[in-house]
């Protein structure tokens, strides 16, 4: 059947709530409205206002109370309505959610799944198109995953909710309406494994979330040029499947990392560091990065110039091959 990413995540939330009555979904407008992207549509009708509820408009409050609910014994699935509005919750996420297990010497379990629609490309007003993954990846104690396909939308959501560790689930909002012909419940490898979405010989394209589709489009276009690109979808940003990246680069000798987030200290920097540490003598070219620029996210009419696209990826592929 044809399933969108949003529908796949919605089904995952539905199934998780049906399987375990300790799973709670809450946040701003997730109840009656079903979420501004309708990802939580129908949950309140089916599971009641106690298990899927609207909170006051306060993101720190949402994450802080999720921590208390988790300490009590629930499995909270709070939503940050948009990437740019997760920042008021930064302290609760970084100082407590990420650290309480360690602080308690393992006594406390925080099975919290923080859902954050992220990234640009939807023509939104300021603060609605950010890619904050580096903040969470840099914070010890958080697991950070992001689906690039509807199957992963289902599988990674289920895995996150089932985890006894706190998970940041970054949902690529521009891909919410991306369709796939799949059966639900979908299965997928565990989040710890990156997946080759398209095998290739010449250059490894390391990508995740919203850029998986863009990278696949680039690989398609590259064929016209006679270049064979391997598209590797990281799926989990923390932990990162270094082994799969290195294995691919050892075959291709070249890598281009693609992400929407700004370049400096982005995931590309970490991928490049790991590749040169582990596969230095296999490299035919430096690891290159097709990313957003180190500017604030642009106004909507300019985002097309800012976001990495097929052309930017192919330019870097060409540069890589020229070494």
């Amino acid at each position: 059947m044809t399933v969108t990413l949003a529908q796949a995540i919605n089904r995952a939330l539905t199934d998780a709530m049906a399987d375990d009555d300790r799973v709670l979904v809450f946040g701003e407008d997730v109840g009656k409205l079903g979420g501004v992207f309708r990802v939580t549509d129908g949950l309140q009708t089916r599971f009641g206002r106690e298990r899927c509820f609207d909170t006051p408009l306060a993101e720190s409050g949402i994450i802080g109370t999720a921590i208390g609910l988790a300490m009590y014994g629930y499995r909270p699935v709070p939503e940050m309505q948009f990437d740019g509005f997760s920042y008021p919750a930064f302290e609760q996420l970084v100082s407590h959610l990420a650290k309480l297990r360690n602080r308690s010497r393992g006594t406390l379990r925080l099975p919290v799944t923080v859902r954050i629609p992220y990234g640009g490309g939807i023509g939104a007003v300021e603060h609605h198109s950010e890619s904050p993954e580096t903040y969470w990846v840099h914070t010890a104690g958080l697991t950070v995953v992001t689906p690039g396909t509807p199957e992963d939308g289902y599988a990674l959501t289920r895995e996150a909710i089932a985890s006894d560790d706190p998970v940041i689930l970054l949902e690529p909002k521009r891909r919410y309406w991306m369709k796939a012909d799949i059966e639900l419940p979908a299965t997928a490898p565990p989040h710890t494994e990156a997946v080759v979405r398209r095998p290739g010989e010449d250059v490894t394209i390391v990508c995740y979330g919203p850029m998986v589709r863009t990278a696949l489009e680039a690989a398609e276009a590259a064929e016209q040029e006679g270049w064979s690109l391997e598209v590797l979808d990281l799926r989990s940003l923390s932990p990162m499947d270094t082994g799969s990246i290195v294995a691919s680069v050892q075959r291709t000798g070249r890598a281009v990392v693609v992400h929407e987030a700004s370049r400096t200290l982005g995931m590309g920097a970490e991928v490049a560091a790991r590749v040169q540490e582990a596969a230095f003598y296999h490299l035919e070219a430096p690891v290159l990065r097709a990313t957003g620029f180190d500017t604030p996210y642009p106004p909507a009419k300019l985002e097309g110039y800012w976001l990495p696209d097929v052309d930017r990826i192919l330019d870097l592929v060409e540069r890589s091959l020229a070494y």
């Binding site: 709670l24 106690e50 909170t55 006051p56 306060a58 720190s60 409050g61 994450i63 802080g64 109370t65 999720a66 921590i67 208390g68 609910l69 988790a70 300490m71 009590y72 014994g73 629930y74 909270p76 008021p88 302290e91 609760q92 100082s95 407590h96 309480l100 297990r101 360690n102 602080r103 308690s104 010497r105 393992g106 006594t107 406390l108 379990r109 010890a140 104690g141 697991t143 985890s163 006894d164 560790d165 710890t192 932990p239 990162m240 270094t242 082994g243 290195v246 050892q250 540490e277 582990a278 596969a279 230095f280 003598y281 296999h282």
Partner: protein
């Protein structure tokens, strides 16, 4: 034609019912004389009154020991609760066994009531580990350093209890400075809307490090803030253990009965520095300190018990001796206490095993081995951290 949405709602709560009393509730004069207030009954047996006194005496003695340990270099820093013993002990005494305490970092008195070993808390200040007690055993959450953040944890926990039809109540401690932070504001907003059975207990000890209350808020009192969240605001003399107990008990039982959360402002005074790293002579006078000392909570309780013939010399001497023994036990546990295995740093980050952490753990293990080898004068330094790869 719809209703006039700008008109006041018919069911709006009368803010007057939420307002704190004009004067803070006080049941004991500084000389120990009791003045009953029908609105705030003191449901305590004579034995419990004496037990509260005992807990305050132990708290003060152990607090002093912690300061001494810091002076001797055994603790990195310590935040004393001197002068706040009644606010902490008597409020914690108002809880039932199943209720939960969410402390800041200054709640030794509440910890004593909850029978948390003070030495376990002091490991945070020594730096041997970040905590050392089981919060579920004592229903006493971990000490929380970022100001006011624990108010949300207490609220979420209480939301969970309500959802579960579990009649437990949570109490969260923060200070006058904490009321300026966003998280207690969000917590009281959530608790009010979601009817979470949580009591917000503000120890107004007059200072946030050096900043006095009048630079912290323009509110009439901290308790008045409750009205904005739809919570009843209480005010009590926090150096009066009986008033603190009675007010807290009322708020706790109202919350347990489903009447929702409450905010209590307990007026007290931090007799010590903010922490051992602070120099309070830069921001307050000796005269002010001496005036505050005249409201001392332990002297007040002692006077009261003496007046009622509930405390004789022998009992008092027994408490002093017990307090000394507790202090000595804390000293024994903390003095030169070794840190654990450095490799434990990797053990609690996540429950799931992570290959990246396992690799870094191996790096540290190699460094440790090289250090041992170096000390033994053997092979010299081991391999550099992170060395390896496919070269």
């Amino acid at each position: 034609m719809g209703e006039d949405v700008t008109a006041p709602a018919a069911d709006a709560r009368d803010p007057a019912s939420l307002l704190p009393p004009d004067e803070p509730v006080r049941l004991l004069s500084p000389d120990g004389t009791f003045h009953a207030d029908a609105a705030y009954p003191v449901a305590l047996s004579d034995a419990e009154l004496v037990a509260i006194h005992r807990a305050m005496v132990i708290t003060r003695r152990v607090d002093r020991e912690a300061i001494n340990l810091q002076r001797q270099g055994q603790l990195g820093v310590y935040a004393s609760c001197l002068g706040q013993e009644a606010a902490q002990v008597a409020s914690a005494w108002a809880l039932d066994a199943q209720d939960w305490v969410f402390p800041s970092y200054r709640e030794l008195g509440a910890a004593v009531v909850r029978e948390v070993d003070p030495a376990d808390l002091l490991h945070l200040f020594r730096g041997t580990w970040l905590s050392n007690h089981d919060p579920y055993e004592h229903r006493f959450a971990l000490l929380s350093i970022p100001i006011g953040t624990q108010a949300l944890h207490a609220t979420g926990f209480a939301m969970g209890a309500r959802l579960d039809a579990n009649p437990l109540v949570t109490i969260v401690y923060f200070g006058d400075g904490g009321t300026s932070e966003g998280d207690p504001h969000e917590a009281m907003t959530f608790a009010g809307v979601l009817r979470a059975p949580v009591v917000f207990f503000v120890q107004n000890n007059q200072y946030a490090i050096s900043v006095p209350l009048d630079q912290q808020t323009a509110a009439p009192t901290l308790a008045h803030k409750a009205v904005g969240y739809g919570l009843p605001g209480y005010r009590c003399d926090g150096n009066d253990p009986l008033a603190t107990f009675a007010v807290t008990r009322r708020a706790v039982e109202d919350a347990r009965a489903g009447h929702g959360p409450a905010l209590i402002e307990a007026l007290t005074y931090r007799m010590e520095a903010h922490t051992t790293s602070d120099d309070p002579t830069r921001y307050r006078t000796q005269e002010e300190l001496e005036a505050a000392a005249r409201t001392d909570p332990i002297a007040r309780m002692r006077n009261h018990l003496r007046q009622r013939d509930l405390l004789d010399d022998a009992t008092e001497a027994g408490f002093e001796q017990e307090a000394d023994e507790r202090a000595r036990a804390v000293r024994d546990a903390i003095y030169d206490a070794p840190h654990g295995d450095p490799l434990e740093l990797f053990d609690h980050v996540t429950l799931a095993d992570r290959a990246d952490l396992a690799a870094q753990r191996e790096e540290l293990r190699a460094e440790l081995a090289a250090r041992v080898a170096g000390q033994e004068g053997d092979d010299g330094p081991g391999p550099a951290p992170g060395a390896g790869g496919d070269a």
